[in-house]
Symmetry: C2
């Protein structure tokens, strides 16, 4: 019966011997505004339902210039931190009746750029991105298009762009102080993607704490994990640190923390008053871990909500001033 490919406004118009315009007006709830008679309105509504009309959002978008779609670029959505972030952003977006297109950058500026360009071409109404290293140019390009954009997790210094991030420096500073309080003195630092602003800040907080407390530190205690080869790279780092006889490892992210603990577990290393691991982030892994990991918990939901509310206000043109938000993180001591 209704086997046509798709039902369009004109199809309905034809059946009803009306113009597409009227149908459009009614279906967009503007019957009142254009003073369409109630009878016609009813008929249109009925007929549209009957024929299984579904608006073609593509055409709508082309016409109106709004797609109700936002683009999301994160490092890797299978990372629990980003996964929760994505989840939260999608939930918020849905509230405002927006859809989310997402892409993983894998921390590659190249992939980042590609996805950004694609999103622009697809005319997204806004973007939420975690910029990678060397993505400044891409971000500038997005800014040039005037498409609203909000950075999340990392920032790019000196760029007039909205962002929401955690106070990374402060968080590591506090956690580092805590482990110093506990008497640990030979503290190794293990990080990843170290060029990113958030990781730079974390390291700064860590070093500041050490310096203030006169805890010695040198390059041999610093290790950057190879992103591409995470598992293997962590293993090598941990083995090295164990040989050096360090007594604590500060992990700069959940990925590092999780991998470090997996390696320690393989080696049957017992954690104790003489050896500990602390980490940024607080994924479920840590809650179950075979020994307690003190950590820094990011209020992911708060971040997601904030990011979306900023983006929406930009899209709606409600706000024009640049919002750069830094939220404190929470220490979880075990």
């Amino acid at each position: 019966m209704k086997d046509r490919k798709t039902v369009t406004l004109s199809d309905i118009a034809e059946v009803l011997h009306l113009s597409p315009t009227v149908i459009s007006m009614v279906l967009n709830g503007k019957a009142r505004k254009y003073r369409v008679s109630e009878e016609v309105e009813r008929k249109v509504m009925h007929c549209a339902r009957e024929m299984g009309y579904r608006p073609n959002r593509l055409a709508q978008s082309l016409r109106t210039g709004k797609t109700r779609t936002i683009g999301l670029i994160l490092g890797d959505i299978s990372n629990p931190f980003f996964a929760r972030m994505a989840r939260c952003i999608e939930r918020e977006a849905a509230k405002y009746d927006y859809q989310v297109m997402f892409a993983n950058s894998d921390e590659s500026a190249d992939k980042f750029e590609r996805s950004a360009q694609l999103f622009i071409s697809k005319q997204v109404d806004g973007m939420i991105v975690a910029p990678t290293e060397n993505s400044e140019k891409s971000v500038r390009n997005i800014l040039d298009t005037k498409i609203p954009i909000v950075l999340v997790d990392r920032i790019i210094d000196g760029l007039p762009v909205d962002y929401v991030q955690i106070d990374n420096e402060d968080a590591t500073y506090r956690l580092t102080n805590k482990i110093i309080d506990k008497g640990f003195r030979k503290i190794a630092y293990m990080t990843i993607s170290h060029g990113l602003s958030n990781f730079v800040a974390r390291y700064a907080g860590f070093k500041r704490a050490l310096q203030e407390r006169n805890v010695p530190f040198d390059d041999s205690l610093f290790y950057e994990v190879d992103f591409e080869n995470c598992q293997k790279s962590v293993r090598e780092g941990v083995y090295m640190f164990l040989r050096m006889g360090i007594d604590a490892i500060f992990c700069a992210s959940n990925r590092v923390g999780t991998q470090v603990m997996i390696v320690l577990r393989e080696r049957n290393v017992e954690l104790s008053d003489h050896f500990t691991v602390v980490s940024f982030d607080n994924p479920d892994e840590f809650k179950l871990a075979y020994f307690p990991v003190s950590c820094i918990e990011q209020p992911i939901e708060t971040i997601g909500e904030k990011v979306m509310s900023i983006l929406i206000s930009k899209i709606n043109g409600t706000s024009d001033k640049i919002e750069q938000v830094t939220i404190p993180a929470r220490l979880i001591m075990k």
Copy 2:
């Protein structure tokens, strides 16, 4: 200098005193086909780059009927299983030059339906969905639109639709046998979203094993976790089971398994030869857990690749027969 909102084909045409047609032909790599002179081709290419031309994919899509976008509906992308699935699907999609729009159903048929309708309206070229309970009608609607769709993780019996799933029944059957081998006899079963085909199958495999081995089982050993109230619900279930003196808990999914272990940990329950927990799925949590959890590992990457390759072949019209794939899962015994 180039401060125009967006550069269109006609803009380039105007500058070059050519028609938009030629520009389009060149920029789509059809210069050869239409025998455009090399000189013009070069000029067009150059000018387009110069002016910062970006094709409007919306317009392209409206014209061609292809959006190069696929819709993805999963239960909850913050669940590590779905997160890895999404990650993999996005990676595959990118290979084929497709973008992914995603939505979480939260296992609600309502949200599922809403997202499905939206994706249809947005003219996605295909969809990958994990159907919720009572979503059969929505899936039928999608099928009616002729938009290619592949189910993943769960299936809907009797529907002529492509899918990729794990052999759930077989996997739980095997794992259950293993724990019976180990001497456990009072085995509780803890599940969630129990109306879903995959969970039904898991339970069936579990029961079959028990029956074959003459291990007694009754309703008191079965517990369905409340999805909305997962944490609290698991706690109650576990407490109840502990009071009953069961000696093993079979968890039907990673969410359940993780929560169960968190609760056991709170209670300082030691796992041993006399008490164990096994689970479907193998998230990172289990690798770090304070005691070893034997589990069933799904080949998520394989599933994702398979799903995408089926979807792509449907989109391209390369294949018309229905592909229903069931992949074996792998037991990880600890």
